[in-house]
Each structure stands twice: as C-alpha cells, then as structure tokens.
Symmetry: C2
Subunit: 550 residues, 2 copies
C-alpha cells in the first residue's frame, strides 16, 4: 500500500486556492499510484480560521469544498481536515474533524478530542470536544486517526505552573485498546524555536509506547502571526525517525507502507540550528503575510542600527530586493555613520533608498507648539515627535507608492516599552517583535555567515535611538545581556520575580524591569501583529489587562 | 436571617484595594447585623484577570487575600469569588470558585461548571469546569450557589448559528435535585445594551422553573474595555423582581430573608432607556480607565464634528471639565464653522482649548516629499498626512502636559476602515468604537435632552472628514441610515450576506460593505481598546485573521 504525505501552505478562507492545492496534490499522488493521501488539520478553511468559524456562510463553504474534493476521490482516498457540524442538540456547534474521503464520499470521521485553549489557541471557543474514539479500517489496516493535540495528552509547558496532564481523557489510550496498526496525526502546529525537539519527542514516545509507527502531517507557511514549519514525520514502531520532510517548504512524499514498517533511523545527526530555523521562519512569515494579502512591496525606515538592518535583510530575502525599499531619515542628533552605514547596507543588498531629513517638519512642530510648551524643559516629548515624523514619512511613501511598512521593533524593546507609539512602533507587520535583542545579534551573525552583508559597524556600535544628543539605550535600560534573561524568565517562562536568576541579575533590577513590562501593556495593545517564533509571543498568545495594577 | 448584597467596583490585580473594599463592606454589613454578605464572581483578583491567572505569584496573592478576609469572618459569613487551585492530577490548574467564609476559614466551596468561552470570554483558557454540584447548608437554609454562566445553560445568542444549549450539563438541574431553598448567583457579567433584558429573564425564569427565590450579585465599573452594570437582583419564587440595585453604581443592600420570600413585584414599569444606559456605561468606562490607570486628564482633538463633540461631553462628565482639554487643528480645507462650532462647545463645557493650524508641518511634509512624489496625483496620502499631523500634535501635548488622548472613532468608521492609522485612529481609549454613527446621534440628543450643550449646527451638518475640498463621508460610504443596519446585521448578528435586509439595502451595497469590513481587519488590529456596550464589539470579542481571503 502506498501513502502520500501532503505538507502544504494553505490560506485562511481562500477556499478556491486550498481546494486547487488539494486537487493538484491528489492528481500527483494518483500518478504515483498512491492509495491514500494525507493532508493536515483544517486544511479546507486554512488554519487558524479564528472567528470566521462563527459564520454560518463560512461553514457552508467548508462543507461544499469537502464535497467537491470527495468527488475527486474515487481511485484514491484522501484524509483531510475540516470543521463539521455538531448534530447533537447541545454543545458547541462544530467539531474539528478528520474526514476520510473515498468512493466520492466521506467514509470515516474522527473528531478532535483535546482542544488546546492556551497561548494562541482558542479551539474550545469554536469546537465541541469528542469523547468517543474509533479506529479507521482502511484496506486491511487499522488506523488510529488523531488530530494534533489528541496526542499531546501529556506535555511539558515552559510555565512550570501548568499541569503536565491538561485533559482528563486520552484519545490515544482509547484508540490503543482497539489494536491499531498505525497512528496518523494531522496537525496545524505552529513553529516555536523552543518546541521543535519536544514536538518530535511526543511522536517518538507515542510510537514507542504503543509499538506502532506514527505518520505526522503538518502544514507550512505563515498566516498573519503564526508560522508553520511542516517537518512532517515518519516514525517507526521503535520511535526512530525514518524520514522528516523539510522545514518551511511544501512537500509531497509518497512511500510504500513497508518503508516505515521496516525503516531504520535516518535522522540527521544533530537537529537544525535554532537560529537557522528562526531565520527561515521569519522569511516565510514575511513572504506569506504579503503574498496572502495580495501585496508585493515592503518599506523600512533604515536607521543605521542593527534591528532595521536585520529586518531589511529578511525582507529582501522574502520579497526580493526589487520589492524592498528603504527610507533614511536622519535627525539633527543622528551621527554621520548612521547614514553611511545604512547606505552601505542598502547598496550591498541593491535596494532602492531615499534620504529625507526630518528637520523641517520637526522645526514646524516645535514652533507651533512653543506657545503651549513655554517654560517647559525638553523631554521625551521631543524624542517622540521625531519618531512620529518618521512614521508620517514612511506611511506617506507607503500610501502613495504602494508599500507596506515593516516594523523593526524587537521583543526586548516591546517588552519594556522602549519605543514610540505611532512612531517606530508603527507598521503592518512586526518582524522582530518576538526576537530578543541578543538574538537579533545572532540573526545578524547568521546573515553574515558567509560574507559581510550587514556592515560590521552596524553590529558593533552601541544601541541608540539617536533622539537626543549622545543618547544610548543603556541610559534607560539594563545591559541587554542582563535584560534579556530577565525578560525571558518573566515573559516566556512566567517565573515569579523571586525565582528569576542569572549573572548580574539582582532583585532591584528585576523589580524595575517587571514594572516596565507591566506598565507598557497599553503600547503593545496597539502594536502590529508580531511574527511568532517562540512559545510566548506578544499578541494573541499573551492576553493581559491594561488597567490592572500588578 | 439577614443578607447583604455587595455590588462593588473591583480593580484587576489590585489586591489591597479589593481587600479593603471587601473589609469595609463586611464592617458595614456587620453593623447592620447581617448574617451573610455576598460579593461577586472573582472579586479577589478583579474581573477579568485574563492571563495574570497563568502566573503562580498572582494565584498565591489570591490565596493569601482570601485567608486575610476569612480572618474577618467570625460573627458574619461572606460568600466571595476567587480562583482556587485544582488539586486533581489532571486538567487546568485552577477552578473559578465561590467560597463561603465563616468562623475564620473556608467552610464551603462551589466551583463553576459552565465556563463561557465565546466573545470576550476565555474562561476555559484558565479554569477546569466542575462536574459535581452540591447545595450549601447555611443556618438551616439550603443554598444553590452558582457562578454566573452556571445559570446560563440555555440562552439565545444574537448569532442564530449558535446552539441554545452550549453545554451538556446543567449545574442548576443537579442542584435542584437537592431541594435548595434559594438560588444565589455571583457574576461578573459585562454590560451590553442588547442583553439587559435577556439577562433579567434568565434569572426570572430560573426562579419560576424551580419555584425558589434568586439573589444575583454582579460587579460594577470598567476594566479596560469591559463595563459592568451591577443591577444586582432579588427575585421571588414567582419570578418577580422584588428589588434591583442601581446600574453602574456601587451599592450595599441589607435585607431580611423574608423580604424576598414574601416580596412582591416592585419592578419599574419600563426597563431603563438603552441610550441612558449606554451613556452611563461610557462615562463609567472612561472614568475607571483613567482612575484605575492612575491617570487624571484627557485630551481630545475637537473637529467640529459630532463624534468628537459627543466624546468631549462624555469625557468632561467622567473626568470633570477641569481634567479635560481640547485641541482644535484646522487645515486648509476646514470650514470656518468647524472651528467656531468646536469653540462654542468647549466654552459651554468650560473646557480649556487651544487652536493650532496644521498648515506649517503639512507644507514641510509636502515639500520634503516632492522629489519622491513628483508626477503623482494628490490622493488619500495627503489626507492621511493631515490626520497624522494632528496625532503628532495631540500626542505631543499628551506627552508634555500629561494628558491621555481620547480616540473619537465610531463603530461605523472602524467597521469600514474610514479612518487613518496613527492619525485619527490614535488614542489610549476608544470611547465610541462600539457605537454606530446613527447611535452617536442618539447620544447627542440625549446629551442635549434638557438644554442645548452640543451646538445644533454640529448635529445638523453633513458628516465630513474635511481632508480635501468639499469632502463628505457620503462620497465614499453609503448613507449611515443604510450602512449601519448592514454593519449591525453582518457584525453583531453575523448574518450571511444574502440574509441582510432592510430599507434601501441592495445586494451590491451589502457586498461592497462586507468587502470594506473584511479588508480593514489590519487597521482594527492596531486600534486602541474599545469601550464595549454591545454584545459584539471590535477587539478581543471578535478575533479575525488578518491575511484571510474572505
């Protein structure tokens, strides 16, 4: 028996595109004489559909599309993911289902039992959890069809306050009693650099525990903040990886079922470098944000600092240098090398750039505000005005010439509120908002791994916003080597203050940093969507009250 | 036996304030010789605590505070709401609990069984649902202690696609088998103008169905977007309202238990006017957003249009005219009456205002951008530049003089994207973001009910952004009398396009409006928090993918 794994890039709500992608894959699998092609979780609407699932018209579209695909499944069967209607009188209106299509119709349905409702996941918002589980008989094989979290009945969270068993049922335990020959897991599991190994381990452990092979099928591509890595797996009954499909690339892989039954460990010696994966994730995230929005061109305010430099490289890689543009906007406080470093980078990348001084509008604002501000000292107000003037320029070019503004704030700045709302915090998409400053340097080194693309001067200079004479980030913030470990422990691991430790970390510094984090929720609330690469990113995965006192 | 209802205004995460408020109420109830004082759901941490519940330190604070309050309960008992730890090995780590404190300790615990996970609610994100329910014996009475949604096992949603029975269990059905004498419901139920009657009906129907009285205790006040109306209820066993506590005001009410047993229908003839309730809700929302953030003063860009006029009146009512400021920023396209109408309003309200023309910075931007824009026609870019210059001025005054910018966009504009990101969409809090334009007029009429505060000219003029010569809203949008019913049916009721009907509504208009709504998710993503007064507000209650094609 031959099976095809379809690791594809779906677009939320784009039923025609998703259907055509599935049709095309079925055709290819048929050509390879495959008996069964397996697609990923909720491939029909794309993942995550969020509250589009609340719309009756959206669900009707899903049902129609499943019908159309079923019509193509006559000499081949397909396992697909779609919402289906819960026909019971009570409960949420939908199930998150895996449907086996064969002979032109749905011949088997498995509904998801474990609905993740933490971090970015809201599945219980829309779906009723299934409580009964049955294996699927397919050409003499008994398949345990599970949907993503169904195999995650036991897991370790970064936040040690969480229980390891989040659910009181285990779908796989129920299925195991029915003597399955294979575990199939269809998922839409987003990338997080800290989770890649533990995800693989879950599949390996389940294969070992039940002594049967696992086929896991994940999607790839970006959908707004979430980036999916693919890396679909074939694991033999001893828990060894027989094959892993590529990260962040579409792939169709057809194999004989014996290949996995008899297959041996073919795992690469070491797992992929996390910095490489983050780089690929961000490029995928940018590319798909643009492509799926029907956009082509990105613009970046290039300051001569490392954040905008790394963003420019990532954007040029994602959209092509011909679709990337830079605007340099020196102020009266900009150092000369800021402009020359930025120019050097733009020229190396062959990116069109313009230089506009912000002096004239800055003077106009200063002058107009004089009567209101008379007798007041200069303060952060004037710094913010400059940052906002830059946003006005960037958005004007964006509006007139059809570019989308790329936001260049990093996670450390976003965490402590070191940025200007409607100024440098503006943009359609935050590329580095889930990357701490120290990791931005790692990305820069990765970009320069073969030859110097980002001028060394940009990497070596001390971080500064250049909004007043001689300003340095370290005037207002602890050194990033101290700040970032505090942020990681407080935000990503959710540790209580007294358990936050490390070199140079003292309780007073921790308290000061936590105060900055908590008092800047209001800024993050209005931030652009952030490409998520960790397991705790700002945005929908971290929902904090704004007026709380904590 | 005497019972006290405590309808109070809690602050999320402000354990000291919440504790002191509770202490003070216990003291007062004790003075009235009350046997039992009832507080509302999750009064210890404040509602909604959101992901603060993920933090171990936050939960420890809750547990400590409950202990402290228990220490005060010796000659009086208190029913309070707090998260408690789920000690079972599996499941979510917390329960949403009602705790009866007596003799210095917790003598009874009821955990919430029905966890709303729709719209703005995310309770299953943090809490394990209880599956066993027992009545509480208190001085010879058997109390059915329920927490908010526990009584909502059957409800009608605005979206008719939802099931009426969202849960497969009914806590009250289980409790009814144990012959309770009273139903107590502690809640944190946010205001929505369309839900006030159906909420009351749920309590009345439960009282009638089980033939026993209902005491419902709700909180009041604003916590970021959510505004709680209080309106706690005493309902007799025939389902008649014996007493309703005030809307949007703190209240302590002590009564003898016989009062509710023998009490007769004292319900006001007609329910309160929805416009009055929306007005009070918005004033409460503004006041608490400021007070709970430790802020005092608000600033508004006053255009001479109706939205900013209504916002100014609401803000002056909430913060006092002495804490409210206006900035008038005419452009080369502003009509003369825009300034004079705005001045008249500010003077009537005794509000400090300044006038700054945006001409100088506008010219500076135009000039600096000339080289990049040569050969291009004027378009929306120049309109956006003007709107963004205004935001720079407003934020500069905000930063320098310590004001928070009030955003004045209404729900109709937010829906169709008729606004400029980082321009008129800026602000710390959106006051009218859940109020359709036609309802903004109703609010204006309400404000003017006794005497003309908002100049009639502001109400009568045709809506315009005044960003190009002779511009009117109706150039780009259908008449608000047609637009708003379409928006309401699509957004609030979530009707499929083909079922959207009404006077002057045609399929082509509907299609055009839906396209505008869907293609502007990216703008709303970066909007300030919106005071919620409907049952489907923009923000956390409506989670839409940005790059979807739908």
């Amino acid at each position: 028996m031959k099976v095809t794994i379809a690791q594809l890039n779906y677009h939320v709500g784009n039923f025609e595109k998703n259907r055509d992608l599935i049709f095309d894959s079925i055709r290819k699998a048929r050509n390879e004489k495959s008996d069964l092609i397996i697609f990923s979780e909720l491939c029909i609407p794309g993942y995550p559909p969020l509250d589009l699932l609340d719309r009756e018209d959206f669900i009707q579209k899903c049902i129609q599309t499943v019908d159309e695909i079923a019509g193509e499944c006559r000499d081949i069967s397909a396992l697909i993911g779609s919402p289906t209607l819960n026909t019971n009188p009570e409960g949420k209106k939908l199930f998150n289902s895996a449907l086996l299509l064969s002979e032109g119709r749905i011949v088997f349905t498995a509904n998801k039992g474990l609905l993740p409702t933490y971090d970015i996941f809201d599945e219980y918002r829309h779906f009723e959890p299934e409580r009964k589980f049955a294996v699927c008989n397919f050409r003499g094989l008994r398949l345990a069809v599970t949907i993503c979290e169904d195999l995650w009945d036991e897991q370790t969270f970064d936040n040690q306050f969480e229980k390891k068993r989040l659910y009181s049922i285990s779908p796989m335990e129920e299925l195991a009693k029915q003597n399955p020959d294979f575990i199939i897991n269809i998922s839409a599991s987003p990338f997080s650099w800290s989770k890649t190994e533990s995800k693989t381990d879950i599949f390996r452990n389940k294969a070992k525990k039940y002594g049967i092979p696992v086929i896991s099928v994940n999607q790839i591509g970006g959908n707004t903040e979430l980036i999916f890595e693919g890396a679909s797996l074939m694991i033999n009954s001893r828990g060894e990886i027989v094959k892993r499909l590529p990260h962040f690339e579409e792939a169709l892989h057809t194999f004989d079922i014996d290949e996995i039954i008899q297959g041996r460990n073919k795992e690469e010696e070491a797992g992929p470098d996390p910095v490489l994966l983050i780089y690929k994730a961000l490029v995928t995230g940018i590319r798909d944000y643009f492509r799926k929005s029907g956009l082509k061109k990105g613009i970046i305010g290039l300051s001569g600092g490392i954040d905008s430099a790394v963003c420019l490289c990532l954007t040029a890689e994602a959209l092509g240098p011909e679709n990337t543009r830079a605007l340099l906007m020196p102020s009266r406080y900009s150092s000369e090398h800021s402009v020359s470093d930025a120019v050097e980078l733009a020229e190396r990348l062959k990116i069109e750039y313009d230089i506009i001084s912000i002096e004239k509008p800055f003077r106009a604002f200063e002058k107009d505000l004089e009567p209101l501000f008379s007798g007041k000292e200069k303060d952060v107000t004037e710094e913010n005005i400059q940052a906002r003037i830059r946003a006005v320029f960037l958005m004007a070019v964006s509006n007139k010439l059809g570019y989308i503004l790329i936001n260049t704030s990093n996670k450390s700045e976003a965490a402590v509120g070191y940025g200007t709302l409607y100024g440098d915090m503006a943009g359609g998409l935050s590329v580095l908002g889930d990357v701490y400053k120290t990791d931005v340097y790692r990305l820069a080194d990765f970009i320069n791994r073969n030859n110097e693309i980002i001028p060394r001067n940009i990497i070596k200079k001390l971080p500064t916003a250049e909004l007043r004479p001689g300003q340095l980030d370290s005037d207002s913030l602890p050194d990033y080597g101290i700040l970032d470990p505090i942020l990681y422990q407080y935000i990503d691991l959710q540790k209580p203050a007294e358990r936050i430790t490390g070199k140079g970390i003292e309780p007073a510094i921790v308290a000061g940093v936590i105060k900055m984090i908590n008092s800047n929720e209001y800024k993050r609330y209005q931030s652009p969507p952030v490409l998520r690469v960790s397991s705790k990113s700002f945005g929908d995965g971290r929902r904090m009250p704004l007026v709380a006192k904590y």
